[in-house]
Amino acid sequence: MTKTLTRRSVTRGLALAAGTLALPTIGRAQAKTVKIAMIAPMSGPWARQGQLLKMGADLAIEDINARGGIKSLGGATMEIIYADAGDSTEKAKNAAQRLVSEQPDLVGGTGSWLSSFTLAVTEVTERAQIPWLTLSYSDAITGRGFKFVFQTSPTAPWQAAQTVPTALELAKAATGKTPTTVGLIMDNTAAPVSFAKGLREGGFEKAGLKLVVDQIFTPPLSDATPLIEKVRSAKPGFLLLLTSAMPDCKLVLEKLDEFKMAHGKIPLVGNGAPFGSPELLKTIGPELLEGMLFSVANWPMKGQEEFIERFKKKTGEPFLTQDALCGYGHPAILAEALEAAGAADKIKVAEAIRAMNLTSGPAAQCFPGPIKFDEAGRRMNVPMIFAQWQKGVPVTVFPTDLALAKPFWPSV
């Protein structure tokens, strides 16, 4: 029972195939789509952060379209185009230039995690007048007089200025006493150095703190003993830990444990999302992390409980972090802007972002404080978030109205 292949059957087959191929194209042409972009490091040393951003963005697009797309554009669906920023500023810039050249109808974008990548990418997007959202901390990003860049994280200097007073407030609220001494252990890479600069130049003094341990090391740390011996003899009220590499952080924590100063004997305060990463939990374990506090630009808050569960289920991640949260929040902001602009036009979308003042809705839920940008593209009236490791999960504990758990000052 063999069927011979005739010319007619082939023609018929081809016609059928062409028909099925053409159908969805026609369907898509009727419902409009709007395109946004995400440039994130998806390969190289920061690939993990890029993945988390993408997980968040995928979910956001899914939700936006499930809600019926952009209603003011007749239910236009949102489409996101990903580009890999790789491991260098050159690659990040090339990715931006490529997107701008190949996707002339982009109405907005987000990226690229590392400040220097974001700086390079926004040089391109600014010239192309594409509204661009970023979670990067560097104040240089919005210090260039650009009109199309919007920074959803508070800048690094602001975070540095807020972290210590807020930590003192937390201590006072929990124990009734304010610590008077502080220890500082940090590496000499970019972020910790700029973070500590303001603190050394009067920041500690202003907060009424005496710096009793001041240790800087060049990563990788081979032995934390000399650092921890200093901590043991000085016994600071709390220890500011500014390490950027996981192994160094692990060494310090283990040595603290060995010297019987872990588990809250000396409370620990860090800064930045890496202090709340699942990787840290995996390498260090929940016991040593218990009670550790860190300040961060954005962290899962009250009101996101349903979303946190959905994210965990969908991705298999142990908890939601800053990166995935911003990955979700940025497309949401762009969707709101499109809704307000009523046109798939990048200039109008940028105008809508500038005029934005969101306090509720899916986009506003993703960030602490209202979504309102100043002239420079920085958010206004943003609270400093503090999260704390509690039973193997870093949960937001401050400010109180956004907290998912009550803070405890570990030394009590």
Binding site: M42, S43, G44, A47, G50, Q51, Y82, A83, D84, G86, D87, S88, T89, E90, K91, K93, N94, A95, Q97, R98, V100, S101, E102, S115, S116, L119, A120, E123, E126, R127, S138, A140, R144, G145, F146, N188, T189, A190, V193, S194, T218
Partner: protein
């Protein structure tokens, strides 16, 4: 030396390349492709700058990012702190790059081979930390809306293609000029045999320093324009390992030591890497690196010396080389005729009480020696007697711990070999030290630079020297293809080319057959007849007895006999130490 391709043809090739780039730039319809094209040109320039030092002289550098980064930071900081436009700071960065080259070369050229390469690695790494410490982690170049052209901020990306092209063309022309001058030939000689180059009178230190400074200048200029194009400067992006590796990989891929290798490398690998990033980066992140690596491995396996040399060898095979015409020897120049054909009373070289030891071994122990002008002196002695050490002391490879050396009244103590050569002392080596990838004529020309006012004169003197040893017919052949006898003659010609007053011949007759021997002996006699004083180390006693008019015998670093050949060979000390009883019997039989 890439002399197989004439300069004129290379100039046409460069012009063709420039036109091709302009046509491509005009045809590209996307800012993105223009950006990638600009990067191709800039990376090609860095790799070509790297090639000037590393390709020509063979001193590999794993640290060219230091120059690139200095150029980039000069532009960025100049703009931020002093509002200086890149038109000014890019050349300024070049100057800083050149100075950095001098500063780096001074300590680092004490090292050779892998040690040099690894030491170079340290400079960008150290500088990276310095710039981090200075607080220059992320420097965005401010946007100048008022005067974009003054600050090199153009909307049209083709302008950057044009700027990068101009700089690359300049680098190509500089490289071409180097290849065809004393500079390049000296570097090429250094690459193949540095001691031989030094002994042939090349001031190796000076040329290496110049190469590094020029290389640093050009790399810094490229880095400056890179900063303008990228608009953000971070220590990792400009001093990082990736930059140094890029310079190296592009040149290795395209062909080290060639004008076009780095350009080919950049033209293939930069778009390939970028294309892979674009197509695969967001689909299967990380896979682009794997594909890129495999592509490089595959091509290196097919063309181990680089694409350029592979292609050239292919083409050379297809078109047979033109029948080797005998080199035209300019007849206009005749060697300076010196009348003295036999030892005169004038002492040319005087050694007094020379002593040198290596650890516990006394290689030379109180050797005193006088060489009269016009003489033909033989140095004999058993293995390890200190003969070659004596030559090394005379020509400056070794500095004696005691004693004095004067040549025509001037002290030679503490002079470097190239300076000794300048005084008029040439030498050959026990194991021939040729420059195998240069032609015979070029090999000898390298030796002639010392005594020549310009490159043309050097070429003429080389041709004369080749004629003197009877090797003119082989002038255009690569030295790697010569027989042992021809190599010896070529080395002799190289020593003779600058018209020295004294030449040191180290076992020139070693390993030669009977027929070959006669040819060389004739050449040596001719040299002596032309008035050049000859000092020769040799084992072949029969030949030596016929050749020389004076013997000095060394044993265990001491001079045990000296005098006319026939007297010396009968000296019982000499017979015991060196010649052996068999020789004594022969001598006594001959006497009967």
């Amino acid at each position: 030396m890439n002399l197989a391709v004439p300069v004129k043809r290379q100039l046409w090739a460069i012009l063709g390349f420039a036109v091709a780039v302009l046509v491509v730039a005009a045809l590209l319809r996307s800012d993105y492709f223009e950006l990638v094209l600009t990067q191709v040109l800039l990376w090609a320039m860095l790799s070509l700058a790297w090639n000037i030092l590393c390709g020509y002289s063979g001193y590999f550098s794993f640290g060219h990012a230091v120059f690139w980064g200095l150029g980039a930071y000069t532009v960025a900081l100049g703009l931020i702190h002093f509002d200086l436009p890149p038109w000014l700071t890019i050349p300024l960065g070049g100057i800083i790059g050149g100075l950095a080259g001098a500063l780096i070369g001074f300590p680092t050229f004490r090292l050779r081979g892998h040690y040099f390469a690894l030491a170079m690695l340290a400079y960008p790494l150290a500088t990276l930390y310095v710039f981090q410490w200075l607080g220059y982690q992320e420097i965005p170049l401010p946007m100048k809306r008022a005067a974009p052209a003054l600050y090199m901020q153009f909307d049209n990306p083709r302008v950057y293609v044009g700027l990068a092209l101009v700089l690359l063309l300049a680098t190509l022309l500089i490289s071409l000029r180097i290849e065809n001058s004393r500079f390049g030939m000296s570097l090429f000689a250094i690459k193949q045999n540095e001691p031989a180059a030094e002994a042939a009178g090349i001031n190796t230190w000076r040329w290496k320093m110049l190469a590094l400074m020029l290389s640093g200048t050009l790399a810094a200029v490229a880095g400056g324009l890179y900063a303008v194009v990228l608009l953000v400067v971070t220590p990792e992006a400009v001093f990082g390992m990736l930059v140094s590796a890029q310079a190296l990989i592009l040149a290795l891929f395209g062909g080290v030591g060639s004008l076009w290798g780095p350009v080919i490398g950049a033209a293939v690998l930069v778009p390939l890497a970028e294309g892979l990033n674009a197509k695969l980066g967001s689909v299967l992140p990380g896979i682009q690196g794997v594909v890129y690596g495999i592509a490089i491995i595959a091509i290196i396996l097919c063309a181990p010396e680089g694409v350029y040399w592979r292609l050239r060898d292919r083409l050379a095979k297809r078109t047979p080389p033109p029948a080797a015409a005998p080199a035209a020897v300019p007849a206009a120049v005749t060697p300076t005729v010196r009348e003295a054909a036999r030892p005169s009373d004038r002492d040319l070289l005087v050694l007094r009480d020379i002593g040198i030891s290596f650890g516990g071994l006394r290689a030379l122990d109180g050797v005193s020696l006088t060489v009269s002008e016009g003489g033909l002196y033989g140095i004999i002695g058993p293995n390890g007697a200190g003969k070659t050490t004596l030559f090394n002391v005379i020509n400056g490879f070794l500095t004696p711990q005691r004693g004095s050396i004067t040549f025509a009244g001037d002290s030679l103590l503490g002079l470097r070999p190239n300076q000794v050569c300048r005084h008029g002392i040439g030498r050959t080596f026990q194991v021939v030290r040729a420059f195998p990838r240069m032609t015979v004529l070029d090999n000898v020309t390298v030796g002639a630079f010392v005594g020549a006012a310009d490159d043309t004169a050097a070429r003429r003197m080389a041709a004369v020297a080749l004629d003197r040893v009877g090797l003119s017919a082989r002038a255009r052949v690569l030295a790697g293809g010569l027989t042992n006898r021809e190599l010896r003659l070529m080395e002799l010609a190289r020593a003779l080319a600058p018209q020295p007053r004294l030449i040191l011949l180290d076992e020139t007759l070693a390993g030669l057959g009977h027929d070959d021997l006669d040819g060389i002996l004739g050449a040596i006699r001719q040299v002596r007849a032309d008035g050049v004083t000859v000092l020769i180390i040799e084992h072949t006693m029969h030949a030596m007895v016929q050749l020389v008019d004076h013997f000095d015998v060394l044993d265990h670093g001491r001079l045990i006999a000296s005098g006319a050949p026939h007297a010396v060979v009968r000296d019982p000390n000499v017979i015991e130490a060196y010649l052996g009883k068999k020789w004594a019997q022969q001598v006594s039989e001959a006497a009967k």
